[in-house]
Symmetry: C2
Subunit: 283 residues, 2 copies
């Protein structure tokens, strides 16, 4: 590998760029981004080495696409049009069904690997790019059998080199399950933030009362709306289903409180303490 093109150089793409360059000093990292300021910033920070455009992609050995998922759906067929026969294209989108669908009949489908690295922070942009973001994290690969064996191998070597665990899954199951363990968490945090801000907007110093518990629970409400709006749009049906179940559970909790059924409130919480065992497996 010599020429690596990062399409999108924010938190996800930028962190890939940093670790790939660290592991392979001989490669050259090119950056493509719709936001010219981000490109300048990435260049200044050393996240990328040179700016590029889509027309340069024929020179790419590897293209990593880390942009909002609506942009990925639009751009991915064009990217595949422009690459060489030996180029590997990997995406990093939080949805997988629509992305796999849009290229299913593309003549270069076998040059594409659909991936979802389960890693990130609530920060965004090139300045959020950090080394080690992917160490010990899971990378979910969808439809691996649709990628040329040689390029699969190249991608897996790359992911393993930066410390990722690989899991295989079909795109429909991915989108269904990720709605529970990721998308719902974001809505839960955003609406918690909204509820508290609305209530306390005229009483700012009330936030003096907020401790680390609130900070942790609401942390994801700092996430980028530009990134998350298209995720919710593409995974609409699954996300609505998780939201309905979440609202029903909250509603039931409220009714138990209204009925003064605090022994059942206790049980609800005790049963959910089982999350301890689950979280022990999550970094």
């Amino acid at each position: 590998m010599k020429n690596i093109y990062m399409i999108g150089i924010g938190l996800i793409g930028g962190s890939f760029a940093v670790d790939i360059k660290n592991n392979n000093p001989e490669v050259k990292i090119y950056g493509i981004d719709a936001n010219e300021n981000h490109l300048d910033e990435a260049l200044k920070l050393g996240v990328i080495e040179e700016k590029a455009t889509l027309d340069n992609l024929e020179n790419a050995d590897l293209v990593i696409v880390s942009i909002p998922v609506d942009a990925t759906v639009k751009l991915l067929p064009i990217i595949l049009d422009k690459i060489s026969d030996n180029t590997l294209v990997v995406d990093a989108g939080s949805t997988k069904e629509a992305i796999c669908k849009v290229v299913e009949h593309h003549p270069k489908r076998r040059n594409f690997l659909a991936a979802h690295p389960i890693a990130g922070t609530e920060n965004s942009g090139p300045s959020a790019a950090i080394s080690g973001l992917y160490k010990g994290k899971t990378n979910i690969i969808c439809e691996v059998e649709k990628t040329t064996f040689k390029l699969q191998e190249k991608a897996l070597d790359l992911f393993r080199a930066i410390g990722m665990r690989i899991r295989y899954m079909d795109p429909v199951s991915h989108d269904k399950h990720i709605a529970y363990v990721s998308h719902l968490s974001h809505i839960s945090a955003f609406m918690l933030g909204k509820t508290v801000i609305n209530k306390e907007k005229n009483e700012r110093d009330i936030f003096d009362m907020a401790g680390s518990g609130f900070a942790s629970t609401v942390r994801l409400a700092k996430s980028s709306p530009a990134m998350w709006t298209p995720i919710f749009k593409q995974n609409k049906e699954n996300v609505i289903e998780t939201l309905e179940e979440y609202i029903n559970n909250l509603q039931k909790f409220k009714e138990l409180m209204q009925q003064d059924n605090f022994s059942e409130i206790f049980n609800e919480m005790e049963n959910t303490n089982y999350i301890k065992q689950i979280l022990n497996g999550i970094k």
Copy 2:
């Protein structure tokens, strides 16, 4: 100060004991707890130096009450009955109205200081006690004017020595605001945990898909039901109000999704990003 009695020697009481002893090696820390195993554990861990009972309280210079808030309401009048005229009693309950109410006409009311240290982790029991838990954290003091000046001063010196900031508030306002910035976060996390566990209970390895975002948002669902059930009970009206607003906000978000109104979904999230500025002030 010579003899300090900790009633409750879990996360909150135990962490007080550790730091007070560190700052005042000359004091002796006694432990009282309904759970004999916890007492033994606290003794073994060095969190307390000697076991005691309520009948020893006449010797106390300071009593810190860190037990579930329903137990505090029952025990606080009995504790005040047993102390000397010079003893300071401080509680650490997450609700303040019922606790202040139950001792409002007690002849020793002026020996009591109502406090809520906004600090903690999701862990519980003596093994959860840690040094430095209170450093830089807020301690909300209610009805300060009802405590003897000399004992107020003693308490404030103690809290400042372990690094706490002091805020004064009336108990009714405390309970109203803490419902938003603390109690609701716990329910939000518990119900998120429940929703995901219910959905994924037959598919354990799906939790491989959960990243640090889920772990952070659901963290408080590890909290102790024995501690939290009486908090929700004592703060029932305020908590129900916050839950209703939270459910309404989630419901509205769901409806926006159903209506494909993703520009408004974007706005909802962007407005809530304001939480960034707020969280910058929270450790």
